[in-house]
């Protein structure tokens, strides 16, 4: 379809406006992190830095435990992502293909669990983890993150499985392939974009999780970025440069992840959306 110049202008104008609205805060944070402290807080904010310094990053990496928080976050997020994907895939397949009593009810109930506010279970969960010695353990965060991400991941994964023609599975069954082989050898490659989408969803959920990480982790050396970073910033006296440098450093792993699998993520979203 050919657009008129008015339509094209409106379209690009709209896209540019959206890009600015989304991109401006990132620009502000990233450029602010390399400005001198006085420029950051000056009365007339500068869109482009008039000064350049890496002092905030130096302070972040040398005088704070940020590198430890970063490592903890990466470990927790990677394990959470791996377990979420490993559990969501067979669960979604079971809901999609297998026949068992109460399948639809159970499927809907799982989604209900996703809507359940986490704060309600915070204190009971603390008591439970304390009993089994999981307080102050990254394993506790992985368990919580998987539990939080799994319902929606199963729902997403089931939608992706629904895009695979049944004939492909039937052909594999005719050739004598067992269920595990069908899932691993046939379906997994076909819904790879969907798996990437679920993985990114699980990774970001874990990366940004604050509530449980703030309560279940006690020692400084085991904190993840959101919690550790909140402490670095301070309450009464804020070091704005440190805050901006930390925010910039915190988004780097997510940006790298998107750079690697972003294309799959987008195609995964569209494939999952249409049957």
């Amino acid at each position: 379809m050919k657009r008129s110049w008015r339509q094209a202008t409106a379209l690009f104008g709209g896209l540019a406006a959206i890009a600015i609205i989304i991109g401006l805060p990132f620009w502000w944070v990233v450029t602010g992190s390399i400005k001198l402290p006085r420029e950051i807080i000056q009365r007339q904010p500068t869109m482009f830095p008039h000064s350049f310094t890496l002092q905030h990053f130096e302070k972040l990496l040398q005088a704070s435990d940020f590198p430890i928080y970063l490592l903890n976050s990466v470990i927790v997020a990677l394990f959470s992502t791996a377990f979420t994907v490993l559990m969501a895939l067979p669960a979604a397949y079971a809901f999609f293909r297998m026949e068992f009593p109460g399948r639809n009810t159970l499927y809907r109930t799982i989604l209900l669990a996703y809507a359940f506010p986490g704060v309600v279970v915070l204190i009971p969960l603390y008591g439970l983890f304390a009993k089994v010695g999981l307080i102050d353990s990254p394993a506790a965060l992985v368990i919580v993150n998987v539990a939080l991400a799994l319902p929606f991941s199963i729902w997403m994964m089931r939608s992706f499985l629904a895009t695979v023609p049944r004939e492909i599975e039937e052909a594999a069954v005719v050739d004598g392939a067992p269920t595990t082989t069908i899932l691993v050898r046939i379906l997994m490659p076909l819904i790879a974009p969907g798996i990437a989408s679920v993985a990114i969803f699980a990774f970001i959920s874990s990366w940004t999780e604050y509530l449980f990480a703030s309560v279940l982790i006690v020692s400084d050396a085991r904190r993840t970025i959101p919690v550790g970073f909140a402490g670095i910033i301070g309450q009464y006296q804020i070091d704005w440069g440190l805050l901006l440098a930390g925010a910039t450093a915190a988004i780097v792993p997510v940006v790298i992840l998107f750079a690697l699998v972003g294309r799959w993520f987008v195609s995964g979203l569209t494939e999952g959306a249409v049957k």
Partner: protein, 442 residues
């Protein structure tokens, strides 16, 4: 005696020697047991998370642990944002800390769940030795006990630039009418005469209460525990605050401490109410000590002197283990020794104020380079803090509902009804009274 009755025989000697060696062996075992016994381990939770504070605390702990081989104190920094939920959960699960930093309303929360141990004797001894500033220990003295040992004080003051006042031809305001006139004169040309918050947040609670104590509305409870918020003095404070809020930046409804400090440091706000701006002013603004002005919060024209809000931060004993309690008392006594105490306070120089009389004179405090540079300002801050009060802790009686009133920021919420919703001060205070009374009933 030998069986024959002729004095000690060979067998008796062997028995005696055996007994002697056995006794000596036991003694040696006991002694070696003492010498190599594990130290009493204490876990300290504090909410001083910024890296430089954690580092200073660790330096102090290392020094203490080295000098006291039988005690080992370990820090676990927490956040004020979560500790209200985290600490009760930790105590319920049996893995709470042995020592816990606190502010007055947090103590009421933990006292309610029986997690706090009174420290009457220690407080008495330390008071006799160092002399607590009365305003700092008063919020922890109720129900016939002392519930925490004061550690450092924070009091709100009025901050300004001497040059700005001089250029505007005005004196440091002492009364509300002078204050309003100064704020009006300092504003203009893209600057605001004053920067006061109007957020539903603790900072606004603090700044509003700073005005309430200066209009005679310091007590929000009556002796019987009923709410005493709705009175002409309170309405007067809110009414005046709303006038000053109009002279503040328009985004003040989202401010916390950091935004106000940035506004002052960037010279956008002529005056602010803050615990301290020294660190930010020194590192992110001019850093000219001679130009930084600090004064007591101005008082209502009808009042005689200024008061302020002060937060006495303290340390609670939260272990039921007797050996740990004794060890914790040794640590607390060590911390308040003037030689150590100044270094504890200067973990955040220019913010944490001494709670003891000898701490206020300690070389370890005044020798810090930031404290030295801003000595006149810090002396003024200390003087202001002597007349500090805290909502809910002014009558000598403490009622548990103050925890919920504080947590729900009802003082700030009342201000928002005026500044954001456009209600009159009288109506907003009336609504605030009703809400507080509801909480007090529960």
């Amino acid at each position: 005696m030998s069986k024959t009755g002729k004095g000690p025989g060979k067998g008796d000697k062997i028995v005696k020697l055996t007994r002697l060696f056995t006794a000596a062996g036991f003694a040696a075992l006991l002694l070696s047991g003492t010498a190599y016994a594990d130290p009493v381990k204490l876990t300290l939770w504090h909410m001083e998370q910024p890296p430089h504070r954690v580092q200073r605390m660790q330096e102090l702990l290392d020094e203490f642990n080295k000098g006291h081989p039988d005690i080992e104190v370990r820090q676990e920094p927490q956040s004020w944002g979560e500790v209200y939920a985290k600490a009760p959960a930790a105590f319920a699960a049996g893995n709470g800390p042995d020592l816990l930093f606190t502010i007055p309303d947090f103590t009421t929360v933990l006292k309610k769940i029986d997690a706090v141990v009174p420290v009457d004797d220690l407080a008495k001894d330390l008071d006799a030795k160092h002399g607590f500033v009365p305003a700092t220990i008063a919020p922890y003295k109720y129900d016939d006990h002392v519930w925490a040992i004061p550690a450092y004080n924070m009091a709100i003051s009025l901050w300004y630039r001497n040059s700005a006042l001089k250029n505007a031809g005005i004196e440091v305001p002492k009364t509300w009418s002078e204050w309003q006139a100064a704020a009006e004169k300092l504003g203009g040309d893209g600057r605001y005469g004053i920067g006061l918050p109007a957020n539903k947040q603790l900072y606004t609670d603090q700044t509003v209460y700073s005005l309430m104590v200066n209009s005679g509305a310091a007590d929000i409870y009556k002796d019987d525990g009923s709410i005493d918020f709705d009175k002409p003095e309170t309405v007067k404070a809110y009414d005046f605050y709303s006038k000053l809020a109009k002279l503040s930046p328009a985004d003040n409804a989202s401010w916390t401490w950091g935004e106000a400090e940035a506004c002052f440091a960037s010279n956008t706000c002529g005056m602010i109410l803050q615990f301290s701006v020294i660190n930010t002013y020194d590192t992110q603004a001019e850093g000219d000590a001679a130009d930084l002005g600090v004064a007591a919060v101005p008082h209502d024209d009808g009042q005689k002197e200024s008061a302020t809000i002060s937060y006495s931060n303290a340390i609670m004993l939260t272990t039921k283990d007797k050996a740990k309690q004794d060890a914790a008392k040794v640590f607390l006594a060590w911390l308040l020794e003037p030689a150590n105490y100044g270094r504890f306070l200067t973990m955040e120089p220019g913010l944490f104020l001494p709670v003891t009389n000898d701490g206020a004179k300690a070389d370890s405090f005044w020798s810090d380079k930031v404290v030295t540079k801003y000595k006149p300002q810090i002396e003024t801050m200390i003087a202001n803090s002597q007349n500090g009060k805290l909502f809910g802790f002014t009558t000598g009686k403490v009622f548990p509902s103050i925890g919920a009133i504080s947590a729900q920021n009802l003082i700030a919420e009342t201000l928002q009804h005026i500044v954001v919703d456009g209600q009159s001060a009288a109506d907003a205070v009336k609504a605030g009274q009703a809400k507080m009374a509801d909480i007090a009933k529960k």
